[in-house]
Subunit: 424 residues, 3 copies
């Protein structure tokens, strides 16, 4: 590491960051034992990919057996960055001193996690140590948000079920239970979405969010065309594939409208294909295809100039489009490095490409996407390191930026931009 | 910067380069004030993307107001390489000494640009200082080239309107006025294109050029099939979308034929989508989609072995194909780094990939694509720096090339290849 | 080169590697003269791309004339990595001391190659010097394998002709001659493929292999649907394009079944388009298109969990999918860096991306794809260097791996993984 890189890293570590996307459960935000860490899909799916039978981590098995199975496989994945997150979390948050987890050392580590996890307010301790000021949640649309610790957590309305499962009676029942609206028409739907957004806004939500398949085209029908589709779905009638797409596009449009009306950003997470490998472990079945283009979203970006779209893509092939659409569209904000792109090699390339050609005030540097707060520290540290490296090697050392400006730029990406864009 | 890189950069700065693609207007080649620099679409579109209303730079507003609006937004884009071009141009060409343009400092800079711009032959002075021997223009097909300063400028026949707008009566009238041919048939069209090319060749043109959308397939109908389409277009009849494509492909074919007959290269600039963001500032509305493949052009490359196709692509996803098609097809020459790929992170990767696998005699290193000659210096300097870095780190330091060979290779890319390929 | 990189390179050079894919002919594995080296398609196609007429290396011309024509063009391609392989082979294997091959120096080099080539067991000498333990061949399905030197060579059943040319009577005759089965039905086909695989397995084959176009979708019809297609093909009836695809997918499925039943990996080499440039030199006519997605293969990976698919792709745009599918699917193993991706710039990026997110036990580092054993040394040296660089810069220097672990990881990629996966 060069010395400019070292100095920048120290400064960037001191920036109190905002984590604008996670799956932390408000009622169980931190780990209670090693199983909560090793059960993260990154570890189970990689261990399975390396040969561990999926049933070795089936929830029906005793926790200790699952942990032992995982520990036995860790060596096969110790080259990965994900393994690095685990060891860093154990070392920094639980004072683990071993070289690696083994059949001998894991029970002690497990006890350390359990003991720390039993302390009141443990998640706040972890976030403090991670230098994270706020962490966004991803809440089901009918979640009760009254118990959320709003000091550190920010609700976010996840709309996947609404948009893609409205034909499912149980989804409509959940909507009715939460909003009092029995959705039977396009107007009902708009009203229901409005009420959901209103509730979330009242509870301090920072945004709505949705994950989308690569072929999704957000070009919905108008309400007149959508009305019969909503009605038929409400009556439990089967829709054709095309009609289902049409309905989804219409629901999506009502979400975009609600974002506009409530002045909330919409987090677009583009590109996922669900259950590509159905025999995989839980959370380790989804992949993507590189097909499609961000051009599919141009109409949306044009229709809603008032809505900030914070956009993540899942395929490397979409990354250049994302940087350029953000270069041109005022309301497109590239956001973090999602899932299969959350790997240093890709982060460094894309980060450099955004820093070289997108206004610095538009970049949301990073989010953790984590399921337990313990992963915030190693994931953000990985990003802070990538940011230091790119700023040092491509901006400071070639004389394109002073170190002060580089640190100020990092502060925008990690803290000030998400605060401003999400209205915190 | 390593010392090999330093030494190479010094040598490469001394190479007198050829700029084979620009939009410099022959009758107003240099800036007359700061508005000519800040009005470059890179600045207005980035400032708009960062939040400046498009109307702030509407041509109807007084120039000083536009400049002031731009200056007020510059800080939001000071991380970008484009901002770097501006400051380098101001410092090297106008002795600007400030740290940044501000409400206080811009009027002085404006005066400096105006004073320099008033000097006779200013553009020659700028090109001299930029170490550029020749700059290609991009001329409308009916432009009068008699006043072009052929000492430094090289005409180039832009064929976009011909190929994609022939159904437009005003285009056909311009053709008739310039060539004397009222295009009513496929044969007329061939004759008109031939006369245009003849005129351009007589005026020293280096090539024809065209920008193309990502789904364009240059597989035209034969003259027999095209004849009725040309005739119907000439009568002002509406063509279907498919017929329009067919007509465009036929006109394109006549351009390729003319290039063959007049032994001129054809500059293919592949991938642009026009007006994706219609509410953007002038020049800041176009983007691209990553769809399509260079394989669409394989037939063309096979049909015209005598024509040099100098090819630029707009999407990073096309770049690998470009390097490999150039590796196989003798008549495919990768050319520069266009627009949304004209960013160091992409330049360095693609440059390395071309240098590692394409014959060095086929590479056209760079062109400026500029609208005023003042941007030649910072853009070419950016490229010379990328070239020094790639040659030093990937070729000289690992022992794959001597420094002498590296400089000789740079000379091919910047000067000797474009001179040979474009017949200068 | 950093010192960690130096030290790693020395250690990695000492690893006895397995080369799991080549086109070395068992009966003429090493060069008998310079023409065998300069006749490699990389040199003839690059020289042709740089301006040498294809007929200059037509097999009908005297060998010395062909060599002289090639030597005269070498300077135009001396920047390429392929040129680097040639010079390294000449220097390390034939004690060539000149700076370059010239009209003066090539006859001596030719004599050196001829003399060495005349020594008994020369290919073993070359492989020993290259530190390659085993080299896979790519054998025609009806090849007689009895003479193969099984000490150093491993047969591999190439299935391209079977899958894509079964409608060709000569292919069916070759099948009949080899297996005794006259293929007239789906069952016959299965039986024939089974017999071929059985023969190859008995002869120590390590795998089957196939190269595939980018639009191939391995989703075959069932035997009932395929039966009439096989029957019609067997009667010499013409199949429509769709029927031809359907038949190919069915034959492919029988190959996958045979791999499952004989527990052999299937080498998938995805993305090639044949004869894109028909006027090119022999071996220099194929290219690719970036279209398609690895998602086309998800069904296959799901249907055959017992088969190891060692996968190579030809387009850079597929590389991210490959790394992620290998991250999720236990039976997907990324393999080497194929053809148009076998260039350091791409190798380094993809190698890093695999090392950062795919279990280390699943990575097959490299194969030579060579036609004469002399190219194993320079190609593997290029890869060993890339591996040293990536491990040093991205893993050892940032503290993510010790040097010992880095060398052990390299040993997995170069040796232990291919030995285990291919059952050597």
């Amino acid at each position: 590491m060069t010395s400019a890189e070292d100095r920048l890293f120290n400064e960037i570590q001191a920036i109190r960051a905002i984590d604008c996307h996670s799956h932390v459960p408000a009622d169980a935000p931190h780990a209670r034992g090693l199983a909560d860490l090793l059960g993260y899909h990154y570890y189970t799916e990689l261990a399975h990919s390396a040969g561990m039978p999926a049933k070795a981590v089936d929830p029906s098995r005793p926790e200790a057996d699952r942990v032992a199975a995982m520990v036995a496989r860790l060596e096969t994945i110790d080259n990965t960055v994900q393994y690095g997150w685990l060891m860093k979390a154990l070392r920094n948050l639980f004072a683990f001193r071993g070289d690696r987890l083994t059949a001998e050392t894991w029970p002690e580590a497990d006890r350390a996690v359990a003991e720390a996890g039993a302390r009141p307010g443990r998640y706040r301790e972890v976030l403090e140590q991670s230098n994270l000021e706020k962490v966004f949640l991803t809440n089901a649309f009918d979640e009760d948000l009254s118990g959320v610790d709003r000091e550190v957590f920010v609700p976010c309305l996840r709309t996947d079920d609404l948009v893609f499962q409205l034909a499912d009676a149980s989804v409509r029942q959940r909507v009715a239970a939460k909003t009092g609206v029995e959705v039977g028409s396009a107007d009902d739907l708009r009203e229901a979405v409005r009420r959901l957004m209103n509730y979330f806004a009242e509870q301090g939500a920072g945004s709505a969010a949705i994950s989308l398949p690569p072929d999704f085209v957000p070009a919905g029908p108008d309400a007149g065309e959508a009305d019969p589709l909503v009605a038929r779905a409400a009556r439990g009638e089967d829709l054709s594939v095309d009609e289902g797409r049409c309905l989804a596009a219409f629901v999506f449009e009502t979400v975009a409208e609600a974002c506009r009306d409530f002045q909330k950003p919409l987090q677009l997470m583009i590109g996922v294909l669900r259950s590509v490998y159905p025999a995989g472990v839980a959370g380790g079945r989804d992949l993507f295809a590189k097909t499609g283009t961000l051009h599919q979203y141009a109409g949306l970006f044009n229709r809603y100039p008032e809505v900030d779209f914070t956009v993540s893509v899942l395929s490397r092939t979409w990354a250049h489009e994302l940087a350029t659409y953000a270069w041109i569209f005022p309301n497109v904000k590239p956001s973090g490095h999602w899932w299969y792109l959350n790997v240093p090699v890709h982060i460094e390339y894309e980060l450099r490409s955004r820093l070289e050609a997108v206004p610095k005030t538009k970049l949301i540097g990073y989010y953790s996407d984590m399921y337990k707060v313990e992963f915030g520290l190693p994931k953000f540290t990985m990003y802070r390191r990538a940011l230091s490296r790119v700023l040092a090697r491509e901006f400071v050392e070639p004389g394109r930026m002073s170190e002060e400006t580089a640190v100020a730029t990092a502060r925008l990406l990690l803290r000030e931009n998400p605060k401003r864009i999400f209205g915190l």
